[in-house]
Symmetry: C2
Subunit: 146 residues, 2 copies
């Protein structure tokens, strides 16, 4: 099958401008053109784009994707170098996931803290009808910035 640039954009989730930009920076090879000079993308182009978006998702900079693209064009000869790039990226992703997980813990802790504050505020609002408790309010102030 063949696809217009609009189709390719739909399938890849990239914008038309981004597709042309990727071509300019040589992440993708110039696709074929129809009689009117319009780009025609193939299924192979689309799966390459799909992989590129995955690399992008992993946080790989365009410069490195470009390196990879060049090696890909060299076929088997570039396989070793390609593997190295991918393996390195894999390590980075594993690290990133670990980092995010630890941030998740921090978030959970803080979310919990906010919940406690909310409950305490609700409680002290109900209490306002009866009496004031300065000690508890002082305590709370400490926790707010924790």
């Amino acid at each position: 099958m063949s696809y217009s640039i609009a189709d390719a954009a739909r399938y890849s989730g990239l914008s038309i401008d981004t597709l042309r930009y990727y071509e300019r920076v040589q992440l993708i090879e110039p696709p074929a053109r129809d009689s009117g000079g319009r780009r025609i993308y193939t299924d192979a182009d689309l799966s390459w784009l799909e992989f590129l978006t995955k690399l992008r998702t992993t946080g790989m900079p365009i410069r490195r994707m470009h390196e990879y693209a060049v090696l890909r064009r060299q076929g088997m000869a570039g396989a070793g170098a390609r593997k190295r790039i991918l393996a390195e990226q894999r390590t980075a992703v594993v690290e990133r996931i670990a980092e995010l997980r630890s941030c998740l813990d921090a978030l959970d802790y803080k979310i919990d803290n906010c919940e406690r504050l909310e409950r305490r505020m609700a409680a002290s609002a109900a209490e306002d009808d009866t009496a004031e408790d300065d000690t508890r309010e002082a305590e709370t102030k400490e926790e707010v910035s924790a």
Copy 2:
């Protein structure tokens, strides 16, 4: 304890310039100054910075961190809104982790592919002494772009 801006940079992992930048965009409140007008950071400042760097790691944009910082200054009154921001970010992080994991699978698949190509190349190099196998070479070409 109190810390110079250089100390704060060391502890937070941010650069001195970034610390001043965060102050300008109001992620942190202007710290106290010594007699010579130099910034003095407190332990509380450092733990806030530590949390900020975690939010940054999760991919939270500075605009949103600023929102959060404003709510923090409001103490208990902002707790509910703060919780909402954190919970939203938590969801984003969970999604991000899932995304990264799926990319990890794609990477593994491709790494495997490169390995196969490498081995095949080594094999065909050894084979060069004896005979050529056109069929296998054609097959390989297909796989190179897969």
